[in-house]
């Protein structure tokens, strides 16, 4: 599926492109409830522009949507990914514990509500702070599949799904050995692939594809189900670090980032992690309004 020229506010609006875009928007209209489907024709009207803006605001997470889709642009890329996530994904094995991989992007409100229900020690501000951590880790929930909140890996005996392009750094010889043992499910990344994906290894990059065990992740039935493991770990951190829960409840994202760093939760630079969390917290506060 391609878009020849831009569609929407100020776009070229070639009828063939407008029709293609409207069809794609309708394929993922379920994510834009209560909005109904747009009329599928080649005219770019206010309904089309409103639908694009709604998609940009709610799915692409653009705070000031421009109502325009450019070929290869961010809105177009996310639209294609979102449509793909609505299609039934193939299964890779006959293991009855495998389920189809589907994107499950919760809203901030959903995460906050779930946190308040699942961890009674959290106040409203604490739930928002923890939701901000989740949103920062998953690019506003876009990298969340089958409600697996922390990208938890799975054995074959648990309910699981497969994700593509799991990568690992290795020596040149080690990478070749891994590929040789993979049964065709791994390859050594090319220089072009490494550049395109932004992978950073000193030597070789090994890339695994389903159903390699490195691509197997836990799949959960609901947000609340998936949150149990993730929250359980956070509760354990709170037991070991008495300052963690108060930091969450006062909305001190820098202190929370510091506590998580001390617990070894992430490997990114602390300043970057804290900055990401603070930005998400601000966004959530703006979205949900003042705490009552």
């Amino acid at each position: 599926m391609t878009l020849e020229k831009s569609v929407g506010f100020g776009g070229a609006n070639q009828s063939v492109d407008v029709l293609a875009l409207k069809k794609l928007i309708n394929q993922c209209i379920g994510f834009l409830k209560p909005r109904g489907p747009v009329v599928e024709n080649g005219f770019c009207d206010t309904e089309t522009i409103d639908a694009i803006k709604d998609f940009q605001l709610r799915i692409v997470k653009i705070s000031v949507p421009d109502g325009r889709v450019d070929p290869g642009g961010k809105t177009w890329t996310v639209l294609i990914e979102t449509v793909a996530s609505t299609l039934p994904a193939p299964l890779f094995t006959s293991n009855p514990n495998e389920v189809s991989t589907r994107r499950t992007t919760p809203s901030s409100q959903e995460v906050v509500s779930m946190l308040l229900l699942s961890w009674t020690a959290l106040g409203a501000n604490g739930a928002r702070t923890l939701a901000a951590q989740f949103m920062a880790e998953t690019a506003s929930g876009r990298f969340c599949f089958n409600w697996n909140l922390g990208n938890v890996k799975s054995g074959p005996d648990d309910t699981h799904m497969y994700l593509h392009n799991v990568w690992e750094c290795d020596t040149d010889a080690g990478a070749l050995a891994q590929v040789a043992k993979s049964g065709g499910l791994a390859h050594v990344a090319t220089a072009e692939e490494i550049k395109q994906r932004g992978w950073n290894c000193t030597n070789a990059v090994v890339v695994f594809q389903p159903p390699h065990a490195q691509c197997r992740f836990r799949a959960y039935a609901s947000l609340a189900d998936g949150a149990q493991k993730w929250l359980g770990h956070h509760k354990s951190i709170a037991l070991k670090n008495p300052g963690f829960l108060p930091s969450l409840n006062t909305g001190d994202t820098a202190a929370v980032a510091h506590a998580l760093k001390l617990a070894g939760y992430y490997t990114a630079p602390e300043a970057d992690y804290a900055k990401g969390m603070a930005a998400q917290k601000k966004k959530i506060d703006a979205e949900l309004g003042p705490i009552r």
Binding site: N151, D158, G264
Partner: protein, 175 residues
Amino acid sequence: MRKLVPAIVLLAAASCSEQKPAAPKEFSVAVQGEAYGLRFENGLLNFCDGRGGRKVDLKTAQDSPSERVCPKPSEANTACSGLPLDVTVRSPAAEANDIVDIGGTSFPLKGRVHDCAADGKKLIVVTASQAVLIDAAKDVSQELSPQGGDRAAVGARWAAWTEGARVRLAPLHPD
């Protein structure tokens, strides 16, 4: 002079009785093909490789054939699942390294978990770039090797992991 002889004998005897047995040292044994099914049993490390069943005597470091039946290699434990410890392996998006979570403490690794085994509160993990021993009781980890591996086992006193064409064995420090 006659009185001295028993004294010397006594001194020698005392010296002998105070001598501690030599502390076990790390060693390795060569394997043929892929080594798998590593497990510690009754003072031995048992495993399978291209030759069939093998046993390594942990006191003498002698490697010899065993009667063990070796089926095809089973899948390695890349998710640290089904262990006596509650362990979670996470793969943060856009990163090349896994993180092991145990009871509120996380242990970032270099690489993906290739295999994982536990004994009590001790966990051994091998990736493409290291072998790591995690002591969940003490919340500490120790890099056993900066080389990668594919299979691992841990017992009360020893850890073992594959490294290229060898199985390496390291004694664990007593608690």
